[in-house]
């Protein structure tokens, strides 16, 4: 979910940083790290290619920290961060940044909320002032009226991205089916309409005091900066931000489904679409990289197994994708395929399961694995072109691994992935494990849904 210029955050399909194509080179993104007395973690990275600076601030809180009855609060809160703070009148946050040539936005996921500004190097102090002011003094200028306006904006975001979107309810249905009620991924980041209505001014204040503390945040500044000067500027602007209580880590036991769950949803659509979803290992944990490679082998490019069979040869599907929504507690692996007119989802599911079984039994060919790795390499270089993307990746690496320059270790996971290991994770997490089968079908056409398979279900 974004505060929203023109983009909606979908599950990040498969964004990963990778290595230079020349095989043995080591690529490092040198970072300096500092911790302020109030607990803020600062990471600086110099890149002088263009006179631009990207600030990227993560608060380690997302919808997973919400309480039942208040779903959507983390994302609604994100919107309110743009409505002014003690020294920034309502509306000025965006106006001042635009007047300085700056872009800004934010996004909320299950696990974290990020805020970013991209500015010319000469304007670096402005976002430091703005971010520090809302970190320290947001609540001083918060009012119930501000909450009410953004509540309506967020409800419209939900209508636009889910309720009024063909197949838009799929990710919400999948999460509530895949996870039990008390597990924090059960509810969607956008929240329910009822909970958005119920969110009160005092909920907002409580959320701010608990989670929007410097100790729960990490700030990355990447681009055309001088490390020493920038550190001093950060110290200047963030030194009056009061420290907060440390939030204890919560450990969750990842649930496992004991049976396959089938859901059929009628929607205002022309074509039926099949969603298969499984619980997968959390990001950067064993098996995560192999499953990313498996998603390429299954549905990356014309020669991938599912695309080739369903779309190219049999022509019974309009499209097919496979990807992981990688998360902090556990990830989700998806296969999604839209049937061509006249074809039922049962037909598509049978072939997808066949291909998953085959990949789970027989290791992929070396060329298939290498083809995937080579494509990922260029994706990696592409991300290094943009300081904004680099800054966000550094922050993700820091938050999830503790090491902002995790690029080489990340790479190593793929370099060392072996074909039999890919086969093993496919068998373990997609073949044997239970998952969710969601059929979204045109109204009145439940006959097109994927039917129960007696052998499997």
């Amino acid at each position: 979910m974004l505060k929203g210029r023109d983009l909606i955050v979908l599950p990040v399909l498969f964004l990963m940083l990778w290595f230079a194509a020349t095989a043995s080179a080591q690529m490092d993104v040198p970072c300096s790290q500092y911790i302020l007395p109030n607990g803020l973690h600062l990471i600086l990275h110099e890149d002088h290619t263009l006179p631009l600076v990207s600030l990227n601030l993560w608060y380690h809180v997302g919808s997973a920290r919400e309480q039942p009855g208040r779903t959507g609060l983390a994302h609604l809160f994100e919107h309110l961060m743009f409505e002014g703070s003690a020294h920034v009148p309502l509306g000025r946050f965006d106006q001042w940044l635009e007047a300085a040539g700056g872009d800004n936005n934010a996004s909320t996921t299950n696990d974290r909320t990020n805020y970013f500004e991209n500015v010319p190097k000469s304007a670096i102090e402005l976002p430091l002032f703005l971010e520090s002011d809302r970190m320290a003094y947001l609540i001083d200028s918060m009012t119930p009226a501000k909450v009410d306006v953004q509540r309506e904006v967020v409800k419209n975001e939900r209508r636009q991205s889910y309720d009024n979107q063909p197949y838009g309810m799929a990710p919400i249905i999948i999460d509530e089916t895949l996870f039990p009620k008390d597990f924090p991924y059960h509810w969607p980041v956008i929240g329910s309409m009822e909970d958005l209505t119920a969110a009160s001014y005092s909920d907002i204040v409580g959320f701010f005091r608990k989670y929007y503390t410097p100790a729960n945040a990490s700030l990355v500044i990447a681009g055309d900066i001088d490390t020493g000067n920038t550190r001093a500027l950060v110290e200047k602007w963030f030194r009056d931000v009061p420290g907060g209580k440390i939030i204890p880590d919560t450990t969750f036991v990842v649930p496992l489904l004991t049976e396959n769950r089938r859901v059929i949803k009628e929607d205002k659509v022309q074509l039926p679409r099949l969603y298969l979803a499984w619980i997968a290992p959390k990001q950067f944990s064993p098996g995560n990289a192999e499953l990313n490679l498996a998603s390429f082998i299954l549905a990356g490019g014309k020669n991938s197994r599912l695309y080739k069979r369903l779309v190219y040869e049999l022509q019974i599907a309009q499209d097919v994708t496979a990807f992981q929504d990688e998360r902090e507690i556990c990830s989700e692996f998806y296969v999604i395929a839209t049937a061509r007119s006249g074809h039922a989802l049962t037909e598509l599911e049978r072939i997808i399961r066949q291909e998953i079984d085959t990949l789970g039994q027989i290791p992929p060919a070396d060329r298939e694995v290498q083809r995937a790795v080579n494509q990922i390499q260029v994706d990696f270089l592409d991300q290094l072109e943009s300081t904004a993307q680099k800054a966000d990746q550094i922050n993700e690496y820091f938050v999830l691994t503790g090491n902002p320059d995790y690029f080489n270790q990340d790479l190593e996971r793929y370099k060392t992935a072996k074909a039999p290991a890919i086969s093993n994770v496919v068998r373990q997490f997609l073949g044997q494990a239970k998952g969710v089968t969601l059929s979204i079908v045109p109204e009145g056409r439940t006959d097109l849904a994927a039917q129960k398979d007696l052998k499997r279900d």
Partner: protein
């Protein structure tokens, strides 16, 4: 030149001192220093032996190369009975060459880690290559094979055509797609290429044959109609011999010039209401014919539109989203093309406030008929100029800008003079273009939503004549089962 950034990892972890604990002065926001200047490498010009111009911009921070091969012909050349021909020709270029099948070609490209794709825009067609310097020779050979020697296998056309028929079906689910297609159709009519979706309409898709595709390629893909753009980690000395080897044998032939039909500006106000029963939101598009990319008004329009609906703090977004909470976002856009493209203003609004939203759009169109404030002018001009360098971060984005220079024959100093030209736009200039192009009395208004819940409110506005349509009126009859299976 550097092939890769290779640096030694150095992480310093330390703590700030607790000294100087006074608070910073927050009474005024920190003022930016003088804007940094953008130092781009010079644009270099070359010619291959067969006359193809090559435009190069070197960029050596990462080992990436982007190549664009374009010809001056696109969807605007589609015959009226064969709408979709240019884009289907491009799609079919990706389906195999004289020496490689579709799957073999895709495997070879993917194995290199390269991206090769073909495209058709309104006035240009061609192909894009994105790869590392290390794979450039192999990738360029594949790239040229696709541009010069596509095979257009009939069996692949059967599949590609079905994909497009299916897309026409899927659009029936998508209120924004319906609204966009209808707004183009009412502005330009079916007789003008800008009036149809670029992927084609039902009639065009039914009639296009492999012969038509081959013909389009044979007519427009000639050296004398082409240009090549290169951006990235390579010099002219290195790239020209490679291009000579791959594109040097491309031959020339006379190329017809096609003038599209005359267009007529919108007269009066008409509301086109497309029923979408049960829709949670209404898609709203206000539309007029705008102007050409080569208009002298270009820079004034950029500033004016930024204030009206281009930026987040624009009047439309500020009003409909931030003040009223009617929408997740509202904005406006001039789509600049060779011939006057559309001006559109858009929002998806909550069903209950559809009529109120239409009123707010009109208020802003009326408001922009009066002079903007100095603060608005300053903010818009700074926003457009100071963030301009962001467009030069990636080789792909730079190549896109160079292609624009080629197609619209803009001068080489265009990038460097952009800032100066934007900053020279005055309040009077803004007023001039808002009065010239934003005419509140003469607009097409498209609304796609739940008719039974919004009809009465819209009629009571008396904003203009109201026409009621269905998705089939917009998209044509649905494809038959045989066409979809």
């Amino acid at each position: 030149m550097s092939r890769a950034i290779i640096r030694i990892l150095e992480v310093v972890v330390c703590c700030f001192t607790l000294a100087m604990a006074q608070t910073p002065d927050r009474s005024v926001p920190p003022q930016p220093g003088p804007p940094p200047s953008l130092h781009l490498a010079a644009i270099e010009h070359f010619k291959l032996s067969n006359g193809i111009p090559v435009i190069l911009l070197q960029k050596h921070n990462l080992p990436l190369v982007q190549v664009e091969a374009i010809v001056r012909a696109g969807t605007a050349c589609d015959p009226e009975t064969k709408r979709g021909l240019a884009t289907i020709t491009a799609a079919m270029m990706e389906e195999g060459t004289e020496s490689r099948s579709s799957l073999e070609f895709a495997d070879a490209v993917d194995y290199l880690g390269a991206h090769i794709s073909a495209f058709a825009g309104w006035h240009s067609s061609g192909a894009s290559l994105h790869c590392t310097f290390a794979t450039l020779d192999s990738a360029l050979a594949l790239f040229a094979d696709m541009v010069l020697r596509p095979a257009f296998p009939p069996s692949e056309l059967v599949r590609v055509r079905k994909e497009r028929f299916t897309t026409l079906m899927e659009w029936r689910d998508d209120p924004l797609a319906i609204a966009s297609i209808l707004s183009q159709k009412v502005l330009y009519g079916v007789g003008h290429p800008y009036g149809s979706p670029t992927i084609g309409d039902i009639g065009g898709l039914r009639s296009i044959t492999v012969e038509d595709i081959r013909n389009f390629h044979n007519t427009y893909f000639h050296a004398n109609n082409a240009a090549i753009v290169v951006v990235g980690d390579i010099s002219g000395d290195l790239v020209i011999p490679k291009l000579e080897k791959t594109f040097g044998m491309w031959t020339s032939a006379p190329v017809p010039v096609k003038q599209p039909a005359e267009v007529h500006q919108v007269e009066g106000r008409t509301i086109y209401l497309v029923d979408k029963p049960g829709a949670a939101q209404s898609e709203i598009i206000f539309a007029r014919i705008g102007t050409s990319r080569v208009t002298p008004d270009y820079f004034s329009i950029q500033v004016m539109n930024d204030i009206l609906g281009g930026a987040f703090t624009s009047r439309l977004n500020e009003n409909l989203r931030e003040t009223h909470g009617y929408t997740y976002g509202a904005g406006s856009l001039f789509d600049f093309r060779m011939f006057p493209g559309p001006f559109t203003a858009h929002a998806a609004v909550q069903t209950e406030v559809t009529d109120k939203s239409l009123v707010e759009f009109m208020n802003e169109f009326n408001g922009i008929q009066r002079p903007v404030t100095d603060a608005e002018l300053m903010r818009a001009e700074n926003y457009l100029t100071l963030r301009y360098p962001e467009g030069f971060e990636t080789v792909e984005s730079i190549a896109g800008k160079l292609v624009e220079l080629v197609i619209y024959q803009l001068p080489d100093d265009y990038f460097n003079s952009f800032t100066e030209k934007i900053l020279s736009v005055s309040r009077d200039d803004v007023l001039h273009v808002s009065q010239k192009y934003i005419d509140p009395d003469n607009m097409a208004i498209v609304v796609v939503g739940d008719r039974k819940r919004i009809e009465r409110g819209i009629l009571e506005l008396h904003m203009g004549a109201v026409k009621f349509l269905t998705s089939d009126d917009v998209l044509g009859p649905p494809p038959t089962d045989a066409e979809l299976h």
